[in-house]
């Protein structure tokens, strides 16, 4: 079933998203598993730097994300 984004202030349908198929989900899991092999080896400093960058993007895009 498609996922619907509805504005609760108006009831207006904003956007419809198609669900991933089970084959697509399986591919996503396999890719995540492959990504884990190197991510688990990554240094804390690298993970931390990426999260600090994430925090920066959140701050920069705050008003757009919030609305």
């Amino acid at each position: 079933m498609p996922l619907k984004s509805i504005n609760p202030a108006t009831g207006e349908l904003l956007e419809v998203f198609e669900e991933l198929s089970s084959a697509q989900v399986e591919i996503a899991l396999q890719k995540a598993w492959q990504a884990f092999a190197s991510w688990r080896q990554s240094a804390f400093a690298r993970r931390g730097a990426l999260l600090l960058r994430t925090a920066q993007i959140l701050a920069e895009e705050k008003s757009d994300l919030a609305s």
Binding site: V25, R40, L65
Partner: protein, 387 residues
Amino acid sequence: MSVEMGKPVMQAEAEIDKCATVCVHYAENAEKILLPENVVMDGGSSYVRFDPLGLILAVMPWNFPFWQVFRFAAPALMAGNVCLLKHSSNVPRCARRIADIFAKAGFPEHVFTELRIGSGPVESLIAHPLIAAVTLTGSEEAGRKIAELAGRNLKKVVLELGGSDPFIVLADAPMETCLPTAVNARMLNNGQSCIAAKRFIVEAKILDRFRSGFVAAIAKLKVGDPLDKSNDLGPLARADLVEELERQVKESVRLGARILTGGKALSDRPGFYFQPTVLGDVRPGMPAYDEELFGPVAALISAKDAEDAVRIANDTPFGLGASIWTKDCAQGEKMAARIEAGMVFINGLVRSDPRLPFGGIKNSGSGRELSHYGIKEFVNIKTVVIG
């Protein structure tokens, strides 16, 4: 966020700020928290290391659609796990934006993945051999399903479920801070928060005074377009939530509760609005006493004294947060020790903070998020002994 789930936009901005805070907190503290711990033994050497578990499936709700994802993802990623997000079906735009943010920040591909699926495929996902653990923030009903699936598949699970938090007002409560906090504690996020104060348990001696101040403040709240910063409340997130809340209010009134203000859905406009409401004379057997009210409806309950207030506070299947209002902090602390909840705030609003563990007991779930406890939920606490 506001246009998709109705949160007043200033609160949505505060939510984004909080997401940034949790990222910074774990970026700065995870390494320290996860340092191997030496254990002194007889001869040889031993230590404990904290290895990532692998692929963590997060089933997340719509009410804090950014915060709840970042609260889980920041520690999980710092611990070396890989995250798969199944977000609530009514916030697909938020889910897409979150995935975009992690990609833009430079995380390697597939370290954070948004799975655009409904709830149907969750059963086979939990059973999937590549999924190591599951975390759910959601309703009690969803918690039962996920816990059952996790149990059947022997997967680690953390559950943050509903709550019916007590807000205890003793006769000596500091009214000037207690009253405005009571309003906020119930009405933040249009009343749709697991840690919202839902049952206001007030010592009989002060009930009249608290009730008149509380009802007057709630009656003044402005309801309307969540993008208009002059409004205090927006709509509920979905039409069915209005229907359920209306049922709970009507049934409570049928059983003897009194509407002191509000009480109805706002049918004069499009959208899913409900009036900020206070119910008085709430007693056991009513939905307002026994169930979680996920919307802007406060239940007022009279207590004989502090002892009776603790009894009523614990007379619920839930055990998430609680707050106690009294000028006698020693009395508050004694009560806190006996309250069946994961978090007790004395003279303060129940809130989450990256430095404090967050979670509940009883039907409010198990496990903790945030602080050093939260990051250790999704690690393999591995003993290494060198003989």
